[in-house]
């Protein structure tokens, strides 16, 4: 404080006459007046209204078909079977029937959904090793302590991929048949490219191969306890979709924010008739390999088929929220206008 500058002369300590030091910087001092606030409110109401209407119209065009298959039809058999813990690991195949009344036009997305499954528990979310999943060899053999108790199997072998997240990977699989005139046609699903580019190419990498096969690379590691297949055999049809870069694994590893969530299973391949324009209306049979136990935590499993709009899937929340907001703002704006007109307009409150 009180720095004395080396300036000579009688006015040596005179402070500089700069706008900054004298706190006279040119400035804009806005004030909330009726002239600015009221038009702003009407404008906001209008904008929200337009957005809401537009979104609503867009959403109306989308279609969504949902089916809870936890205990549906044949699958209740599998559900009961899995209730018995000793049957865990045994596969159980069931089929369910799905009726689609209106054809789903355009790209159709096939999701599996889980209810009451907490992927967002802190210890669950932490129970993974990103270092291992990015292919670091040291982490492969020495999983992070965060993975406990899913870091090593009972023989002490390191588990790859370790942790509770990977361990609990959703392992039901679906095959969809379109019952066209009595003869079922398998609906072609694209099961690849369903994850983010960054995940597939940056976040998850297999350990360096060095001319070894994937199985050799993963030698000395154990598969997660609940898995039926080791990580390098997840996709029996496509070797490049195995290991840590398996799309299903990646999708699963992106933990959901809420206990009810759905994850992408596949996208309709629109290469051949009758699926070039989407899914035609009719009856579909879904063959489910029912493996994932949900009965312990009273969870539900479901299948979702949906088409998309420019802002994502069928989402009624946004348009409605916008419309509600717009009407509220409009209401407030009208009330404010009345209040202003009655009390504040003449500026009588401003008299001193």
């Amino acid at each position: 404080m009180g720095k004395v500058k080396g300036k000579p002369g009688p006015l040596a300590r005179r402070p500089d006459n700069s706008a900054f030091k004298q706190q006279r910087l040119p400035a804009w001092s806005p004030m909330l007046t009726a002239n600015t606030v009221l038009p702003f409110f009407y404008f906001m109401a209008l904008i929200c209204m337009l957005l809401g209407v537009w979104l609503l119209l867009t959403v109306q065009r989308t279609q969504e078909v949902k089916m809870d298959y936890t205990k549906a039809g044949e699958c209740s058999r599998c559900f009961e079977k899995l209730k018995n813990e000793s049957n865990a690991g045994q596969s159980c195949i069931c089929t369910v029937v799905l009726h689609i009344e209106k054809p789903l036009k355009g790209d159709v997305f096939f999701y599996y959904g889980l209810k009451n499954f907490h992927q967002n528990l802190r210890r669950y979310m932490d129970s993974r090793d990103d270092g291992q999943m990015v292919g670091r060899k040291t982490n492969l053999k020495n999983p992070s302590s965060y993975c406990m108790p899913f870091d090593r199997d009972q023989n002490g072998l390191p588990i790859a991929p370790c942790g509770a997240v990977a361990n609990s990977m959703f392992n039901d699989s679906f095959t969809l048949y379109y019952n066209k005139l009595g003869s079922p046609v398998k609906v072609p699903l694209l099961r690849r490219g369903i994850s983010w580019y960054t995940d597939k190419n940056v976040k998850y990498r297999n350990p360096k191969m060095d001319n070894l096969t994937l199985a050799q690379v993963f030698e000395g590691t154990a598969k997660p306890l609940f898995w039926q297949k080791p990580v390098y055999e997840l996709d029996p049809f496509d070797q490049t979709n195995n290991g840590f870069i398996n799309d299903d694994l990646i999708v699963w590893m992106r933990e959901a924010a809420f206990p009810n969530f759905k994850k992408l299973y596949g996208v309709l391949h629109r290469g051949d008739d009758p699926f070039t324009k989407g899914l035609p209306a009719g009856t579909y049979t879904i063959e489910i390999s029912y493996n994932f136990p949900v009965q312990h935590f009273q969870g539900r499993k479901e299948l979702v088929l949906t088409t998309l709009t420019w802002f994502g899937g069928q989402n009624h929340f946004l348009p409605i929220a916008y419309l509600v907001t717009s009407s509220l703002i409009l209401l407030v704006a009208i009330v404010l206008t009345v209040v202003w007109w009655k009390f504040g307009k003449t500026g009588m409150n401003m008299e001193e």
């Binding site: 404080m1 009180g2 009688p10 300590r13 005179r14 402070p15 006459n17 030091k21 004298q22 706190q23 910087l25 400035a27 804009w28 806005p30 004030m31 909330l32 007046t33 009726a34 906001m44 929200c48 979104l55 997305f109 907490h118 967002n120 528990l121 802190r122 210890r123 669950y124 979310m125 090793d129 990103d130 990015v134 406990m148 108790p149 361990n167 960054t198 940056v202 976040k203 992106r254 924010a257 809420f258 992408l264 312990h296 935590f297 949906t306 998309l308 802002f311 899937g313 069928q314 989402n315 929340f317 946004l318 916008y322 907001t325 703002i329 407030v332 404010l336 009390f343 409150n349 401003m350």
Partner: protein, 1191 residues
């Protein structure tokens, strides 16, 4: 400054032996080294860290850090706490280091002052810090006294020396000290070397006017009192040199003991802030408990079954234990609700505000080259809440430089300047001064603007000549002519110096005096007057006269004094002149000038001889000598002729400032050591007392009962008048005279109370009555108060009124009050620096107080309040999202945000805009602030930040966090990406909320900012940009590649923020979060506008027309009351002069009669005795023996 820490043994009595270092070393007295700094290079880091960690907030974060290191409960990485904590510690450490550096520099400068010390038989130059108790040191004229020393001898006759004690008690007049007769002839180094007297005296204490000790030398004992002591901080004046023996050194000197222990002052906002932080802690714990209970329930109902996928850890034996762990995890998670950067941000803001005060060129005083300095950087916002100002008078309200500015001679006024149209002109810097070059002996610093007076003098008008002759003759000033024509006047009071200097410049130069003669140089000719008698000044007479014989042989009596006193004694023949002069005096008085009437009388020889004989007879009588003298003085002063008038200035702009501060509802109390008369005068001239006031109560009782009586009756008077029907019920009115009632008093009262009465009134049983009465009065003036009483008065108000007090003063006598008050302001530049050094703010002129309070104080308060509101809002909005998320994630203490976001949110993303607002925001600019003092009131009423405001802004924060969480929740529970890949993952959710949050709080700060400078724009837009830059950087491939486990969010921002739906969510969230606040503030402004809103509104509507400068300058009082003769000097100096004791060249005439010499040899006792009367007022115990002494 705990300087007794080393001496655990309490000193009972001090033994000091001169020239015997070995002997004195036995007692290990403190040396003269002064240390106010806290650290050195080595101790800085540990000490400073230790100190900082003692603060609750910092300690809290350390505890938090430890919690975070426990894996079972760590819900956040350690870096979320350590990074902000380190930053906070670092900033504080840098600030402390700079502060200490300046303290080191000051200490060094003082400690290295040179002083001459007698060591081993010769005088050697030593640094101050090496001076030790028992040393004999030599002081020269105009040197500061290095320690408390016993005066042994001086170069002046009779072992006299003069000191100025401005640094100690604020009085500028010279004081006399005399050495003991036995030591006064030691004035030679060789004799001093052999001096081996031993002083036994009281231990160090802080009583400036008391010293008791004995000198034992050559087997006899001599009593010592305060008049033998030169205290550290005094300046030797008018004395060539003197020798003294060091009794107290360094921190044990009376000066340093008076500095007291610097209390760390805290502002009320600080205290409130601490309370609020405690509340937040409590709130945090509540949330923790709620969530922990939630966790227990969840774990026992759902989590237990989810163990297949997520088994409990081995020590998590039960749901309850899990709840317990969750509690701690949530404490960590929600810790950001206690703002870590709050304290450091507040410090930064205050520092900035302090710099703005230092930089204010409108508080810079050119003539003394003094800029305002904020010495304490922690009190700024308190400046916006001041309710009571306690002001010293001399040097604070008044300049204490007397200037001869106007006069009325023989019915004609001089001193106003008129332009060519005969209009009075304001005196500005550009006005041309009168040219005094005709007078070779003139004082070049003297300025006068009315040239007609000089012209009149040159015309040799007899009245004019008599006027200046009187000024040149009738005084007790001592001239000093070092070189030919270079005159220096030594006056006991600045008034006299001013008058004599005026006469000197107008051609009547007072050149020399002996006990019998006064030599003038009248218009270039030397004229010697024979001085026949000086009729000295005293408080009762309120005048002084001289009787001289001029070269023509005529005997003349010249008199000057209070106008009423002089007018009473005027010859009836000059009645007309008296009326005109009286009018002129009123005019001068109205302008705040101190006035004085002059008169003269021709005496004939016979008359004088008779009188002189009587006088000499009276002088020999011991009993009632003074009374008899007074009667005689009275006799000869009858029938004076002619009158004229003069001067003294208040500081510039004092009445305006006081009026303005009064409009801002600030009560100003004047506490002065001056006499009642003088104090009331100043009261009138600075508009604090007015003739149209209903009543001015003067309390001057001498006993407790009397004072009680007076206070009661005054109060009854006020209450009785204002409350019809309940008069007489004293007890009741005592009870109900509370602040609510105060408001209803319309009539204006003033209270003047003197030191005697104040001493009684401050007794516990009366203090409430005093306080009530004082608060009922518009103006309170306390006169004749001791420094201690000043502090007591401040303390009284502080204790009972819960109001922010500010004390302003310039002298060392104000130090105690400056330190006691919430805010101490020192006037620097004039006298000593004691007050300024002890103060929190210092500047050169009283009028800057207006700017300090109404502009800087108001802004600081305004800014700080808005800053705090926003800060709490921001932190609640930020943190509580975790709370809501708890209900969806099984109360597992999962964070919503990325850890990096939590780390950086407060210190990077949102710190700068709010700092910019806290530094630069202005609701109205400084001109408007000054023009509308009423805008100051919200601060006094604590309206802008209090518990209610805190509650409101946290409520806003909670609501915002609720919307911030649930709108994205609603959207995300069903959201799908455009490419169909599912999207409701935690990371995307986190980025969406974080982005919404940053945008919402940025918009909110934008709405809260009243004054958008370029800096604000830069910081707000910059922070937003920075957020996105850092977001993408932290989630980039590169960062992930290096530390995969620390940057798991790789690519989320890219994938998430490229979605239209995410932006729709962000837009919606922002609108919904901001609109309610906007509505509320619009309604508030529209329906219940604050005074500030009104002023702003007026400004907006009047933007095109230039606002008219509203003149705050109130019309001058047109008062019949005039300042009385307000000499500040002591009685007794007349005797001093006629005795010739203080004449350097001993030209003392032998023709003086024996009685005369005998009578005058008592002069110094008289001077000292009278002085004691003044200084012992507060000391009841010493008063009784004192009286018996005199009679």
């Amino acid at each position: 400054m705990a300087f007794w820490r080393r001496n655990t043994l309490v000193e009972r009595e001090r033994h000091v032996k001169a020239n015997a270092r070995d002997y004195n070393d036995k007692f290990s007295y403190t040396d003269n080294h002064i240390k106010t700094s806290k650290y050195n290079i080595l101790t800085f880091l540990p000490l400073n860290l230790f100190e900082q960690l003692q603060r609750v907030a910092n300690a809290y974060f350390i505890v938090l850090l430890i919690l975070q290191l426990i894996p079972a409960i760590s819900s956040l990485s350690w870096f979320t706490t350590i990074v902000p904590l380190l930053l906070v510690l670092l900033i504080t450490a840098v600030k402390d280091a700079t502060d200490d550096y300046f303290r080191h520099k000051n200490d060094k400068q003082v400690n290295n002052r040179q002083s001459q010390v007698l060591i081993r038989g010769s005088l050697q130059n030593e640094k101050w810090m090496n001076v030790r108790v028992g040393d004999i040191i030599k002081l020269e004229n105009n040197q500061f006294v290095a320690a408390d020393i016993l005066l042994l001898c001086s170069s002046e006759p009779n072992g006299l020396c003069y000191i100025e004690t401005a640094e100690l008690d604020g009085e500028t007049n010279l004081k006399v000290r005399q050495a003991l007769t036995v030591t006064s002839d030691l004035g030679d180094v060789s004799k001093l070397v052999d001096f081996d007297g031993e002083v036994v005296c009281e231990p160090p204490n802080n009583k400036l006017d008391k010293f008791i000790g004995t000198l034992c030398w050559r087997d006899s004992k001599y009593p010592l009192d305060n008049d033998r002591m030169l205290l550290r901080g005094c300046v030797l004046r008018n004395t060539e040199c003197c020798f003294g023996m060091v009794i107290f050194a360094g921190l044990q000197t009376k000066l340093m003991q008076n500095c007291g222990i610097t209390k760390f002052k805290r502002t009320s906002i600080d205290k409130l802030m601490n309370t609020l932080v405690l509340w937040i802690f409590a709130f945090l714990i509540c949330m923790g408990v709620i969530l922990a209970i939630g966790n227990t329930i969840w774990e026992s109902r759902i989590g237990r079954r989810f163990q297949v996928f997520l088994p409990w850890t081995e020590f998590q034996s039960s749901a309850v234990f899990s709840g317990f762990l969750t509690f701690w995890s949530y404490i960590i998670n929600l810790n950001t609700v206690v703002p870590i950067s709050l304290y450091v941000s507040v410090e930064v803001l205050r520092l900035g505000h302090s710099y703005f005060i230092n930089w204010d060129k409108r508080m810079y005083h050119g003539p003394t080259n003094t800029a305002a300095v904020a010495r304490t950087t922690t009190l700024n916002e308190e400046l916006g809440q001041v309710q009571f100002i306690f002001s010293d008078k001399t040097g604070t309200l008044t300049q204490n430089i007397m200037v001869f500015s106007k006069c009325s001679i023989n019915g004609q006024t001089y001193g106003d300047i008129y332009d060519e149209f005969d209009q009075k002109m304001e005196n500005t810097e550009g006005t041309a001064c009168v040219d005094f070059s005709f007078n070779p002996l003139c004082d070049r610093r003297f300025k006068f603007y009315d040239s007609s007076l000089v012209d009149a003098v040159k015309l040799e008008d007899p009245a004019m000549q008599e006027f200046f002759r009187l000024l040149a003759l009738c005084h007790t000033v001592m001239p000093e002519e070092k070189t030919e024509g270079h005159l220096v006047y030594q006056a006991q009071s600045p008034d006299e110096a001013a008058l004599v200097t005026a006469a000197r410049n107008f051609g009547f130069v007072f050149r020399a005096r002996t006990p019998e003669t006064i030599t003038l140089c009248e218009m270039g000719q030397a004229v010697a007057y024979q001085l026949l008698a000086i009729l000295d000044f005293n408080n009762v007479r309120k005048r002084m006269s001289v009787i001289v014989r001029n070269p023509q042989g005529q005997i003349k009596l010249y008199s000057k004094g209070a106008d009423t006193v002089i007018f009473d004694r005027l010859d009836p023949s000059s009645e007309d002149l008296m009326y005109t002069t009286s009018e002129h005096l009123s005019e001068f008085g109205g302008e705040g000038l101190r006035t004085l009437a002059l008169a003269y009388k021709d005496l004939d020889e016979k008359e004088f001889e008779v009188w002189m004989e009587k006088l000499q007879f009276a002088g020999t009588v011991i009993e009632n000598r003074e009374d008899r003298l007074a009667v005689l003085y009275e006799e000869i002063e009858q029938g004076l002729k002619g009158a004229t008038a003069i001067e003294d200035k208040l500081q510039e702009g004092v009445p305006e400032t006081i009026t303005c501060l009064n409009l801002a509802d600030i009560k100003i109390w004047v506490l002065t050591g001056d006499k009642l008369e003088t104090a009331m005068n100043i009261g009138y001239s600075c508009n604090m007392l007015r003739d149209d006031m209903n009543e001015v109560f003067v309390m001057s009782g001498h006993t407790l009962l009397e004072v009680q009586q007076q206070l009661r009756s005054a109060k009854e008077h006020i209450l009785g008048l204002s409350r019809v029907g309940s008069a007489g019920d004293v007890e009741k009115s005592d009870m109900f005279a509370d602040s609510v009632f105060e408001e209803t008093i319309i009539a204006e009262y003033a209270l003047v109370i003197n030191g005697h009465s104040l001493a009684h009134a401050l007794e516990p049983q009366l203090e409430h009555v005093l306080l009530d009465l004082a608060c009922l009065c518009k103006t309170v003036i306390c006169c004749r108060v001791t420094p201690m009483q000043k502090a007591q008065v401040v303390e009284l108000v502080k204790r009972h009124k819960r109001a922010v007090t500010l004390a302003i003063g310039d002298g060392a006598n104000d130090v105690s009050m400056i330190k006691t008050a919430h805010i101490g302001v020192g006037i620097s530049g004039q006298e000593g620096m004691q007050a300024a050094l002890a103060s929190d703010y210092s500047f050169a002129q009283f009028r800057y107080l207006r700017r300090l309070l109404l502009v800087h104080g108001r802004w600081s308060y305004f800014r700080m309040c808005h800053f705090l509101c926003y800060f709490f809002y921001k932190n609640f909005a930020f943190t509580l999202v975790h709370f809501w998320y708890g209900f969806f994630c099984g109360f597992s203490a999962q964070t919503v945000y990325d850890q990096w976001f939590i780390t950086l949110f407060n210190i990077v993303y949102t710190s700068l805009p709010v700092l910019a607002m806290g530094l630069f925001d202005q609701d109205v600019n400084d001109h408007i602030s000054l023009r509308h003092p009423s805008l100051y009131r919200p601060g006094q009423q604590n309206l802008l930040f209090n518990k209610r405001q805190f509650f409101l802004c946290t409520l806003q924060g909670v609501c915002t966090s609720f919307l911030l969480f649930f709108i994205p929740y609603g959207a995300f529970s069903v959201m799908v990406r455009e490419d169909g890949s599912h999207f409701s993952d935690q990371q995307a959710f986190s980025v969406t909320i974080a982005t919404s949050l940053v945008i919402v709080v940025s918009v909110q700060i934008g709405l809260d900012t009243h004054y958008w400078t370029a800096v604000n724009h830069f910081f707000i837009w910059g922070s937003l940009t920075l957020y996105f830059v850092i977001l993408f950087a932290l989630q980039s491939n590169g960062m992930f590649g290096i530390f995969p486990s620390h940057f798991p969010f790789v690519g989320t921002a890219r994938n998430c923020l490229s979605e239209k739906s995410v932006w729709l969510v962000i837009l919606l969230t922002t609108v919904v979060c901001v609109v309610p606040g906007l509505v509320v503030s619009f309604l508030r402004i529209d329906l219940f506008p604050t005074p500030t809103d009104k002023v702003r509104h007026q400004l907006q509507s009047r933007k095109r027309q230039r606002p008219q400068e509203q003149n705050l300058r109130q019309s001058r009082r047109t008062s019949s009351r005039r300042s009385a003769y307000a000499f500040s000097h002591q009685q007794g100096y007349g005797e001093l002069i006629t005795s010739g004791k203080n004449m350097r060249t001993s030209r003392v005439s032998t023709a003086r009669s024996a009685q005369r010499t005998q009578h005058s040899s008592n002069w110094i006792e008289n001077v000292l005795k009278r002085k004691n009367e003044v200084s012992c007022i507060s000391d009841e115990s010493t008063e009784a023996p004192e009286k018996s002494d005199r009679t």
